[in-house]
């Protein structure tokens, strides 16, 4: 116990009495230490970045909307009143009332549909990003860490998946399913989308693997899993998170595009992309039925892109 306190003190003094510090470092791990300062630096930068603040507020707002749509409107998104149909134009005076944004072709409140549509987009976006990050990180780390034929094989598999046009592949998969739930869409997009993260993770791992502290940990006989999870993963996390956040916006756009093409979520689901597709028929007479959900898609994608951009700028030491 007394040893530990001394060790902690030594550790706190940078560049002092190397021999004692060296022992401590292998035990507590230099990686989390380094990561912590990187993250706190990034946080310091982010708090002062207006783009980050605006996008963070928007994202929180959208998340709340996705989880508790009832907070925003009492109108059901599926309640159709044909008397009102799409000729009910937006009524900008009645902010947040049921008829605020007008009615669609079947007389459903566009405001309610927009509020309830958030859930589908956000679930797909977040779900695909999580799935892709997990798959991509594992494959990338294994390929980068073990190298050799494992790397060759996994890299070739990555190349094969990269060769499949993303949108086309998703169209083909989803077109085969008659009942397209959120989970089917997530799995289809994740199946095709993991390559980007895998490449980033592989690159990061190869760089980190050659760094002195990993070589030192190996020399001291640390196990493979310990090196992977204590030393490599914490340092590879930053670039992966950056790519994942930016990709999230892209997946939301992809979901909307697929819904628009008629192979997104099923017809009964409330989704922005689906509403845009249905609004298409009335583009000339009632453009608001198409424009309002379109704008929602764009705002959501923009929020995540700005967020990812700000995080990248904060985490990339080169830009400092």
């Amino acid at each position: 116990m007394p040893d530990k306190t001394i060790a902690a003190k030594v550790d706190a003094l940078p560049g002092d009495t190397a021999s004692t510090a060296g022992v401590v470092v292998t035990d507590s791990g230099p990686a989390p230490e380094k990561a912590r300062s990187l993250w706190s630096d990034a946080w310091h930068d982010l708090r002062r970045n207006p783009l980050f603040l605006v996008s963070a507020v928007l994202i929180v707002f959208l998340l709340v909307m996705a989880i508790w749509p009832g907070l925003f409107t009492g109108t059901s998104p599926t309640h159709a009143d044909l008397a009102k149909h799409y000729l009910g134009k937006p009524n900008w005076g009645h902010v947040f009332a049921g008829d605020w944004l007008g009615y669609d072709v079947q007389g459903r409140s566009i405001y309610a549909r927009v509020v309830y549509g958030a859930r589908a987009s956000i679930t797909v976006g977040v779900g695909v990003t999580v799935a892709v990050t997990v798959i991509g990180t594992i494959i990338g780390m294994v390929a980068g860490y073990f190298g050799g034929w494992t790397d060759t094989l996994l890299s070739r598999v990555t190349d094969i998946f990269l060769g499949i046009p993303f949108l086309l592949g998703a169209l083909v998969i989803l077109n085969s399913f008659d009942d397209r739930t959120v989970w089917v869409v997530i799995m289809a997009l994740a199946f095709l989308g993991w390559t980007q993260i895998a490449r980033v993770a592989r690159g990061a791992v190869i760089t980190i693997k050659q760094s002195d502290y990993v070589v030192a940990a190996k020399a001291l006989g640390a196990s493979t899993s310990r090196i992977m999870f204590r030393h490599i993963l914490p340092n590879a996390v930053a670039p992966i998170i950056v790519v994942a956040t930016i990709a999230l916006g892209g997946y939301i756009a992809a979901e909307a595009t697929l819904s628009f093409l008629g192979v997104g979520l099923g017809d009964s689901a409330v989704s922005w992309g689906g509403d845009v597709a249905r609004g298409r028929e009335q583009l000339r007479i009632a453009p608001h039925t198409l424009i309002i959900p379109s704008v929602m898609v764009s705002i959501t994608v923009l929020s995540f892109l700005m967020f990812g951009d700000a995080v990248r700028n904060a985490l990339d030491p080169k830009l400092r």
Binding site: I160, F161, I164, P165, L171, F177, L305
Partner: protein, 309 residues
């Protein structure tokens, strides 16, 4: 160099087979049935369906079907469309030039405007015009092409009648302009951002300082030293984008009713016609692979530090 090209070509073979095999499997192994799709909602006789399937070879094991299909493809035989009974190669021959025209148009637009905007912003990083451009590109990236497509279609065609809402003649470049801009908007945003970052980074480099210290005129400092270096990553990015523009055509062609491979593949999909889908998809994979090889070679030509053995 020749050795490298040969090795890359050899490596492309398994990737091509892998990618097309996956597409083939997705098309045929997943639920969904072309013969039933052809019959639509009408009542059908299972034995008729079975015999049609047998004729089409759809009752054989999947891998055998794939080998059979690819053998045909290598001989230039793409198969026949079930619904129209036309040879698929004819369908592609009709539709492909349309998509090529659209893609080349979009590509030219992306290259000229994207690089132009990127240079303008990158030369004065962190000024108002730079931030303005970055914001504009973010907005463009956040608009899925169908959103931008409808927005422009509504404004330009319906509201202001500047252009036609749909393309009736794909050789008429004034009609193709709007779809090309919509198709290219996402790539444009990326190219502008990449150019901007690259220019801003190189602007601070030591060799730029040397170029100024040599007393070169500003025109030469920027035109020769800055651009020559900054555009290397942009050129390679553009090569890869050529492939994604082609896939993006599925959406754009649909919005503006351009009769290209995008519309063909989409219609074939709704009819669940595997042969057409896999045929066109294989072409796209091939174009993507060729583009990435060309990009790698171009990279070596542009940057003398890169040498392939």
């Amino acid at each position: 160099m020749g050795r490298y090209v040969a090795r890359r070509l050899l490596q492309m073979i398994p990737v091509f087979i892998g990618s097309t095999l996956i597409i083939f499997c997705m098309m045929y192994a997943l639920p969904g049935d072309p013969v039933r799709a052809m019959m639509g909602d009408q009542a059908y006789d299972p034995s008729v369906v079975a015999s049609i399937k047998k004729d089409l070879g759809l009752d054989q094991p999947l891998l055998q079907q794939y080998v059979h299909y690819m053998t045909g493809l290598l001989h230039g035989d793409f198969g026949t469309q079930i619904a129209s009974q036309r040879p698929i190669s004819d369908v592609i021959a009709d539709a492909f030039p349309v998509t090529i025209r659209l893609t080349v148009f979009a590509f030219t637009f992306v290259t000229l405007v994207g690089i132009g905007l990127g240079v303008i912003a990158g030369l004065r990083p962190d000024t108002l015009r730079d931030r303005g451009l970055l914001t504009l590109t973010l907005v463009l990236v956040s608009m899925p092409s169908f959103v931008l497509g409808f927005l422009l279609q509504y404004l330009l065609a319906f509201k202001w009648s500047v252009t036609t809402p749909t393309v009736t003649d794909s050789t008429n470049f004034s009609q193709l302009a709007l779809p090309a801009i919509v198709l290219g908007s996402l790539s444009l945003a990326y190219v502008a951002r990449l150019t901007r970052t690259s220019i801003a980074e190189n602007l601070r480099s030591d060799y730029m300082r040397t170029a100024i210290a040599k007393g070169l005129p500003r025109r030469r400092v920027i035109g020769v030293h800055l651009l020559r270096n900054s555009l290397i990553p942009v050129v390679t990015f553009l090569g890869i984008e050529l492939g994604s523009l082609m896939t993006g055509a599925i959406v754009t062609e649909g919005i503006f009713n351009v009769r290209g491979i995008g519309v063909e593949i989409y219609e074939a999909l709704t009819r669940r016609e595997g042969a057409t889908v896999v045929g066109i998809a294989s072409l796209m994979v091939l174009i993507y692979l060729a583009a990435s090889l060309i990009v790698d070679l171009l990279y070596a030509v542009l940057d003398p530090r890169i040498r392939y053995a």
